[in-house]
């Protein structure tokens, strides 16, 4: 990996994320008499349900993308994009490609004809190696 040259923090891996619901945030409250107070609270009522749903949706999107990559409908970039909680607009801004080019690169045909240096830009953003970018099952095969 090319991490050594860049002191980077690790990018989010939404596929393997473990959501910690115990993060405390200051909350304000009002009692029956109309007095206001504040306290550090973990929960505001339905935290678990809503958070679970939002991560469930993310994981569904990733699984769907993974399936489509395997059947050859879209390129691996789409899978890594979902995995890092990124969309086409953000990807375009971080890699420097125009939006329409990123959209194009999601097509497997165009992905195959991409130059190494352009692939490297994606690999750098996703913080993965070249073989991983070309084959999403690279890690599981190697292990």
């Amino acid at each position: 990996m090319t991490e050594e040259s860049k002191p980077n923090i690790k990018i989010i891996d939404a596929e393997k994320i473990e959501v910690d619901l115990n993060f405390e945030i200051t909350h304000y409250q009002m009692d029956d008499k109309g007095n206001f107070s504040h306290a550090m609270l973990k929960n505001w009522g339905s935290k678990e349900i809503v958070n679970n749903q939002s991560w469930e949706i993310v994981k569904e999107r990733i699984a769907e993308a993974k399936e489509k990559v395997r059947t050859g409908e879209i390129s691996p970039i789409a899978y890594y994009m979902e995995k890092c909680l990124t969309d086409i607009g953000m990807l375009s801004k971080y890699t420097g490609f125009a939006k329409w080019r990123v959209k194009r690169h999601l097509n497997p045909q165009h992905f195959k004809s991409l130059k190494e240096e352009n692939l490297q830009k994606y690999a750098d953003f996703f913080q993965i190696s070249m073989p991983e970018l070309k084959n999403i099952d690279h890690n599981s095969q190697g292990a």
């Binding site: 002191p7 349900i49 809503v50 749903q53």
Partner: protein
């Protein structure tokens, strides 16, 4: 070097927390609801054309940076507010200001911010924090949402200051240049209240203020027929998250603003403000109902427990309640 900075005060919202902590450094004591009210951060806007997390954006506060500048203007504090095109220049300027013994506020993106838990690192570019010192290649950060002192390397700080996407911070930094020794809060509080009344009632756009809540209610009613139950539930979940969790102090600042109004009543010696603060709190209670009932629909996405009409009705009720509050506030001669 490190400034003698007290960051033990925790806050619900990052930007009002920045104001509280920064003024404390200049020996002015102010609490979070007060900072939020004087900066008139209370707001509502529903932006269906803007998508975050594949869902439309609902905002409960004003644009990032505005809270600080409004609060400073109201309290008679001179301040500097800068953005930079060149990242290197922005870092040099940060060092220079830090050397003069001034804590510097920064707007940063959360996506690549190292000290925040992973699950909160969304593409969210409106986070504020204060730089309070530099040691070797590391900056010391006072973040009012994270307890304790945080450290971040030069490169990482540069990266988060130039995070990309909606509301990109563009290296924005802000710091007070001249702070009066003492501040009389009476006039700033009045100005703050008037500004919020204007924002909530008088901006001639259907997506903003009290009208915005009604607009949101109409949109929400159509979600299941237009997009299907699954998408509707996703949108609703995202709205509830931004209502309750993304640094709002609960129910989109409504309780916090109620706390401000009740403090303003004591400060100005006006009993009617106390009654209005309770009404504000009641509007907050209704927002809590909204999040509670809405969350039930998120349990099983394809089969909602409550109809979306019910939820939209709650929103209509909220809009009426808040309109009443601000009409009353506007009428009072302060």
């Amino acid at each position: 070097m490190k400034l003698d900075f007290d960051n033990s005060q925790m806050s619900a919202h990052c930007e009002s927390g920045v104001i509280v902590n920064m003024l404390k450094y200049y020996n002015i004591t102010i609490n979070e609801p007060m900072a939020f009210g004087i900066g008139s951060g209370f707001f509502f806007a529903h932006l269906p054309m803007m998508k975050v997390n594949y869902s439309p954006v609902t905002s409960f506060r004003i644009l990032p940076g505005l809270l600080f500048s409004r609060a400073c203007k109201n309290m008679g504090i001179s301040y500097e507010n800068k953005t930079f095109r060149d990242p290197q220049k922005s870092m040099d300027e940060l060092d220079r200001v830090l050397e003069t013994g001034t804590p510097v506020g920064l707007q940063v993106g959360v996506f690549q911010l190292p000290y925040i838990p992973q699950e909160y690192r969304m593409h969210y570019n409106m986070h504020s924090m204060i730089v309070i010192g530099k040691e070797n290649n590391e900056y010391l950060i006072a973040d009012s949402v994270i307890p304790g002192e945080c450290r971040i390397s030069h490169e990482d700080l540069m990266r988060v200051r130039y995070a990309k996407g909606t509301f990109a911070p563009k290296g924005k930094m802000f710091y007070p240049t001249k702070v009066p020794n003492e501040i009389d809060f009476k006039q700033p509080v009045i100005n703050g209240i008037k500004k919020v009344c204007h924002d909530m009632l008088d901006i001639p756009m259907p997506i903003i203020g009290v009208k915005g809540i009604r607009y949101f209610s109409r949109r929400l009613r159509k979600w299941p027929t237009k997009n299907g139950n699954k998408i509707a539930s996703q949108y609703l979940g995202q709205t509830i998250l931004s209502l309750e969790e993304i640094g709002t102090g609960g129910v989109g600042y409504r309780y916090m603003y109620g706390a401000f109004l009740s403090q303003a009543a004591d400060l100005l010696g006006r009993e009617e403000l106390k009654e209005i603060s309770i009404e504000m709190g009641n509007a907050g209670n209704r927002w809590r109902d909204f999040s509670y009932i809405g969350a039930k629909n998120c349990k099983n996405r394809s089969e909602p427990e409550h109809t979306y009409d019910d939820i939209a009705d709650i929103l209509m009720d909220i809009a009426d309640k808040e309109e009443k509050v601000f009409r009353k506030l506007k009428k009072i001669k302060l």
